[in-house]
């Protein structure tokens, strides 16, 4: 059995700052594995360990995704090897374009039985890539996956649905997006971290993949954000709780909030 784990190497928006014009300054944000990808890696790792499967990491993106530290970070979390497609043209690529490249990378690997992704990427959080990727591959897509067990051709998948859990049996290849809390990722041990550099990390040129040209072109042409209202900084220091509550209600009414 061959499992692909699609992951993203990107920066955490919490470490970025917004400029006055609405654009984002990423210069001081440290790149790392997208927040939910270690959860997906843990899920995939458990399945690979149970099924004796090969676990291959795949990532696509702009400059930096092919940096050795990116591969080592992924490889220290139980992946057997990684395939990286780094190309400057992918830095601002849309979801459908990234999914198309991922699909070609998966075809390039060949013999893939299952693709597992994180819930969403920390920087964009569109939750679209798994579904579009499944469409590209012609495979079913399952989101909010909390557990996956079994063998090739007979996978038992659990997914969170409102108010409960849905159990699915999947016989063919599929794309699964792990829910954000599907598993608690193991902290990599020091030996795993130090051994990561010895595992194979293949850099593949984008031109080596036959990615079909995209259809629609989507470009961000403007940005706006709601004006932030200045805080009034009004403090209620009244000791008696009932009087303080009355004062608060009066203040909210005066401000037109009630």
């Amino acid at each position: 059995m061959r499992i692909v784990l699609a992951y993203k190497w990107t920066c955490d928006p919490e470490e970025a700052t917004a400029r006055a014009d609405g654009t984002v300054d990423w210069s001081r944000a440290k790149p790392g594995l997208s927040t939910y990808d270690p959860v997906a890696m843990e899920l995939a790792r458990r399945l690979a360990e149970e099924a004796g499967a090969e676990l291959i990491g795949v990532t696509v993106g702009g400059k930096g995704v092919g940096a050795p530290i990116a591969s080592k970070a992924a490889l220290s979390r139980g992946l057997d090897r990684v395939l990286i497609i780094e190309d400057e043209s992918l830095a601002d690529a849309g979801r459908s374009e990234l999914a198309a490249v991922l699909a070609e990378a998966i075809r390039h690997i060949g013999g893939v039985d299952l693709v597992i992704t994180g819930d969403s990427s920390v920087d964009v959080a569109a939750k679209m890539v798994p579904t579009v990727l499944a469409g590209e591959l012609g495979w079913p897509a399952v989101a909010e996956v909390t557990a996956v067990t079994g063998q090739d051709g007979a996978l038992r998948v659990e997914r969170a649905i409102p108010g409960g859990v849905q159990v699915l049996e999947i016989s063919g290849p599929a794309v699964l997006a792990a829910s954000a809390d599907a598993a608690v990722p193991r902290v990599p041990g020091m030996k795993e971290l130090l051994a990561a550099a010895k595992k194979p990390a293949e850099l593949l040129d984008l031109s080596a993949l036959k990615v079909p040209p995209g259809g629609a072109v989507m470009t961000v042409t403007g940005r706006s954000r709601p004006e932030r209202k200045a805080r009034k900084g009004q403090l209620i220091n009244t000791a008696d709780p009932a009087a303080a509550a009355a004062e608060l209600v009066a203040a909210l009414r005066a401000a037109g909030a009630l």
Binding site: S76, V187, P188, M190, K191, L194
Partner: protein, 379 residues
């Protein structure tokens, strides 16, 4: 000159920080309050290969460089200074002398278990009348037909009574002073070895430091580490490395105090705005951050001397002196920024303040570090 950590060092920092934030920090206040040894963390640290970081894989270690090991002590200490020193004492003070001075048989017997964290180590040098003047120890080791008999006492022994292996220093020739001191590997449960009541300390309360008593404690001849008379040299060389571990512990404490102060300064509102907007607070934060960064450069430099096979005694002493005094000063400023709340157990900075002081005292006081540094310049 490259100030960047290697990929592996950065990833080790991230991984250990994740472990420290999720598993160590949540229990740090409780360990301190209850004077409780962190039993549950030792198997976890062993699982993550943290108990033998700088030792080769063939002897059970992680095979990491010394800078990586120091980063681990720093990150663990940022969450809990007690756990930091438990790890540092085990690695730098107990396992290192076995690795450096032990025979092949001693390596085979102890290193795999110690480096993998299956057996915890402790270092027993200090005595009631012999602290800074370590050579003044009066514990003796008398040679008999079947081994040595140890008699005397030790105090402030980090990791006792939980340790499985003790590195014990005793006089085999009391008339020769420092040259009459020898080192022994003493296993727990050896008849004649007993552990006293734990000290009640100002800080690092999760780390137990009771006295040890030796009453006709018989150890075999092959418990001798190195040769008879090597003890003082072994102790001093061990402490040279141990100091870098303590300096990393101090660095972690200082960073924790700064992190808490930055968060508090942004949240605490006085005069209608966060206190971070006050220049008085900004300057304190600036000084704290600058001092910590300077300390970090000294600490990492000392560790990199070990990695590069260069002498590190003076560099280690400088790192320990500066980092420990920085920790005390930064923790003091952290309480000042927190105001009255900083004096309560509601915020971690009071623990940082109490934990910081010991770093100026153990494994050589600041005065000893100054002695070591000045000797290298005035020889």
């Amino acid at each position: 000159m490259d100030f960047e950590l290697t990929d592996e060092q950065q990833l080790i920092r991230d991984a250990v920080r994740e472990f420290a934030d999720t598993e160590v920090a949540p229990i740090a206040a409780e360990l301190d309050r209850d004077h409780r040894f962190p039993y549950e963390l030792l198997p976890r640290m062993a699982e993550l290969n943290l108990m033998g970081m700088p030792y080769p894989e063939k002897v059970g270690g992680a095979g990491a460089d010394y800078v990586s090991y120091i980063i681990v002590i720093e990150e663990i200490s940022r969450a809990c200074a007690s756990t930091g020193i438990i790890l540092s004492a085990h690695t730098s003070l107990a396992t290192w002398p076995v690795y450096k001075f032990g025979s092949q048989a001693q390596h085979d017997r102890y290193l795999p278990d110690m480096a993998a964290g299956r057996r915890l180590g402790a270092f027993a040098l200090t005595e009631p009348g012999a602290g800074t003047d370590a050579a003044a120890g009066t514990t003796t080791a008398t040679l008999h037909a079947d081994g040595y008999a140890l008699n005397g006492s030790k105090i402030f022994i980090t990791n006792a009574p939980h340790a499985d292996v003790y590195i014990v220093f005793a006089k085999t020739d009391p008339d020769r002073g420092a040259r009459g001191m020898s080192a022994f590997i003493v296993e727990k449960d050896t008849p004649g070895l007993s552990v006293g009541e734990a000290e009640h300390k100002l800080g690092i309360r999760g780390s137990s430091t009771p006295p040890l008593y030796f009453a006709d404690c018989r150890v075999p001849k092959d418990a001798l580490l190195g040769q008879e008379g090597d003890g003082f040299k072994i102790a001093m060389q061990t402490l040279d490395g141990g100091r870098i571990g303590v300096s990393a512990q101090a660095l972690g404490i200082a960073q924790a105090a700064l992190d808490a102060s930055v968060a508090y300064a942004k949240e605490r509102v006085q005069f209608g705005k966060p206190i971070a907007a006050q220049q008085a607070i900004q300057w304190m934060i600036a000084d704290m951050a600058t001092q910590i960064d300077a300390a970090r450069l000294l600490v990492y430099r000392a560790a990199s001397c070990i990695d590069n096979g260069r002498p590190y005694s003076t560099e280690g002493a400088m790192a320990k002196l500066f980092a420990s005094e920085t920790a005390t000063r930064v923790a003091d400023r952290a309480i000042q920024i927190h105001g009255g709340y900083g004096y309560t157990e509601s915020y971690p900075v009071e623990r940082n303040y109490r934990d910081a002081k010991i770093t100026e005292l153990y494994e050589g006081t600041s005065e000893v570090q100054r002695m070591v540094i000045s000797r290298s310049y005035l020889r």
